[in-house]
Amino acid sequence: MRVLLVDDEEEFVSTLAERLELRGIMAEAVTSGFEALERVAQTEYQVVVLDLKMAGIGGLDTLRRIRQMRPESSFIILTGHTGLDEFQKVQEEGVSFHLMKPLDIEVLIEKIRTAGGGKGES
């Protein structure tokens, strides 16, 4: 299973990718929406883990564009804080999971497996 991590906090996203790798999940980290779109254009990822607030293209825009290219991808939102409006928009987009930072890596892995494996909208 291939996972793409998108977050503008480089230290966070790279460390998280490394830890996922240690647990046998092929995770790649990018720090902006643009980079994410480039990667998605080249490779198919079963699960995309997205932050919402990012410089350049925001998390939701990135999500919509990736979905256009790869409708079969599942999405997990991983964010520091979500306002009510944003939260509702995310819900409307039909993401698999909405997680808050900081988080337990085991929880994330469980969600990634659910989202990637069962094509799972939960």
Binding site: T15, M100, P102
Partner: protein, 566 residues
């Protein structure tokens, strides 16, 4: 005891200027005073004016009969005197001095006068030298010389004379009438004495009522005919008299006995007499008693009605103003409170977000360290590093809990109905106060009935409600106290949260007022709005709030919430 988390300084009710900063009892006093003055003063002035006018009219009215009486008396007395003077004039015109010198003729004339007039006592002829030449009558006055008497000089000068009353024959009061008859350059005088009994009878018959007193006085104020009130003939009148005029006039005088009198007087021309008519003012004052009574009654009723109306209207008005002011201030406070909470919410969200990101980095870095050392089983520092990493991760978790609570609090400021699990909600609120509970060694327990359903309500508002009540409970208990929360389902459609403490309790006299805005027992620390806002929110959410309390034993606040919103 419990009360609101926020309020203004309390002073005893009677001297309290309330939170609006207005002294309503003073406004009330001024309103009452001002309105009473502008309505009562004109009324009293009108009533006084009426009374004065009425008295004037009554006085003028009561003088009319006196004037009439004076006119009648003047006519009667003048007629009486003129009649006698005319009789004398007729005699001197009809009889020569020679004829009058005949004693028989003079006696016959006296007899005729007595027959026709009745009250003539004697008749005398006096020469220009003042010597009484001829005389018929009961006295022995023949030859008496009157040359030096003032009456003689007067009759010689003016042609006729009427004397004051004097005590004459047999001590009966008499008057003298004399006329002059010219004989070329000489003259003689015919003089007669008249018994005043008939004269008195004329005045006596004029009386309209028994209360009147009509009599004559001479120019010296000596009573000439009997007076009912001021004594007999020839006594001095004990009333001050101004010189009488030919026109009748009425004045108010006070008798020596202190009685108010109306005194009418008119001068009788060609005589020494002034006619007096005296009436007691009290008699006419008596006439105004019913009027004054009615006026006073009307006035008293009016004043009472006006005062009652003013009091009632002022009280209602000031109370309404006060209520309106309080509502306005309460609304302002609520807005202020809401704004404050919204600001805190935004701030909290910002802080939480900014902290969560670095927290996530720390978490992942620590996690990676743990991952690495987990696998480095032969590293001698493994245990130590893992222990430290675990400590870092626990700290991260603690921070994360705090930021999540802040975020939750911020998020729930927005009004929104959603399904809420009662127990987690209460736990969340308790979370805010956990530290304080620990420091103060408070026993905080939460018991929830099994399988409680979710309620449809507003999370943020409910948090505020329970936070307020818990704050009050914390304020009520002393260190080491107990606070017990029970969540139950009293019926199919409701969930009840009872928050009980073993604190100081609420005195019965405060129970009525604890939900009132601005009621506080916390002195300067409180705004007096906490419980009133709480009450408002619970009502808005369709719930109810109840309090039971015993002083010294504790207080239980029970919030009952509907499962669904209407």
């Amino acid at each position: 005891m419990t009360v609101s988390p926020s309020s203004s300084e309390r002073r005893p009710d009677h001297e309290r200027t309330n939170p609006t900063g207005m002294n309503y009892s003073r406004i009330w006093r001024w309103a009452v005073l001002g309105t009473a003055t502008v309505s009562l003063v004109p009324l009293l002035i009108m009533a006084g004016w009426n009374l004065v006018q009425f008295r004037k009219a009554l006085a003028a009215e009561s003088r009319v009969p006196i004037h009439n009486l004076l006119a009648n008396a003047k006519q009667s007395v003048s007629m009486f005197l003129d009649e006698r003077k005319s009789a004398l004039n007729f005699i001197v015109e009809d009889n020569s001095l020679e004829q009058l010198s005949d004693p028989e003729r003079l006696s016959r004339l006296l007899h005729n006068l007595k027959t026709s007039l009745g009250d003539v006592v004697d008749l005398g002829v006096i020469g220009s030298d003042g010597v009484q030449r001829y005389y018929v009558g009961p006295y022995n006055l023949g030859g008496r010389n009157y040359k030096d008497e003032s009456w003689f000089r007067e009759v010689a000068l003016r042609g006729s004379y009427i004397s004051d009353v004097f005590l004459g024959f047999r001590d009966f009061p008499h008057i003298v009438i004399a006329v002059r008859q010219d004989l070329g350059r000489d003259f003689f005088i015919l003089r007669t004495t008249i018994d005043t009994q008939k004269f008195n009878a004329i005045l006596g018959n004029l009386h309209i009522s028994a209360a009147d007193d009509t009599f004559l006085v001479n120019q010296e104020g000596v009573i000439q005919t009997p007076s009912r009130l001021f004594g007999g003939v020839l006594e001095n009148l004990s009333l001050p008299l101004s010189p009488a005029r030919n026109q009748s006039e009425v004045v108010e005088v006070t008798s020596p006995a202190g009685k108010d009198l109306l005194l009418g007087s008119v001068r009788l021309d060609g005589t020494p007499f002034t006619i007096l008519v005296i009436k007691e003012s009290a008699l006419f004052l008596g006439l105004q008693q019913p009027f004054i009574g009615e006026l006073a009654g009307f006035l008293a009723v009016s004043v009472v009605v006006i005062l009652l109306t003013i009091l009632r209207v002022s009280t209602i008005m000031i109370r309404r103003i006060k209520t309106a002011d309080e509502h306005r201030i309460q609304a302002l406070h609520e807005i202020e409170y809401t704004n404050k909470m919204a600001t805190i919410g935004r701030l909290a969200a910002g802080v939480a977000h900014e902290i969560n990101n670095p927290l996530a980095i720390i978490n992942e870095k620590a996690g990676l360290l743990r991952d690495i050392y987990d696998r480095a089983t032969d590293d001698p520092r493994r245990e130590k590093v893992l222990k430290n990493v675990e400590s870092i991760q626990k700290s991260v978790e603690r921070c994360s809990k705090v930021t999540n609570r802040l975020l939750g609090f911020a998020r729930h400021l927005e009004v929104r109905f959603e399904p809420i699990e009662p127990e987690p909600l209460i736990r969340e609120v308790i979370g805010f106060l956990e530290k304080e509970a620990q420091y103060r060694n408070l026993a905080l327990s939460l018991n929830a009935a099994p399988e409680l359903p979710a309620i449809i309500s507003d999370r943020g508002q409910l948090q505020q409600v329970f936070l307020n009540i818990l704050n009050n409970a914390f304020a009520a208990v002393s260190d080491g106290g107990r606070i017990e929360i029970n969540i139950t389902r009293p019926d199919e459609d409701h969930v009840a949260v009872a928050i009980g403490d073993n604190g100081v309790g609420i005195p019965p006299e405060h129970m009525q007022r604890i939900f009132e805005p601005f009621f506080s027992t916390k002195g300067v620390k409180g705004t007096g709005l906490g419980l009133s806002i709480t009450y408002g929110i619970v009502q808005k959410l369709g719930g109810a709030i109840e309090v039971t309390s015993r002083v010294g034993e504790g207080t239980v606040f029970t919030v009952t919430l509907p499962l669904r919103q209407e």
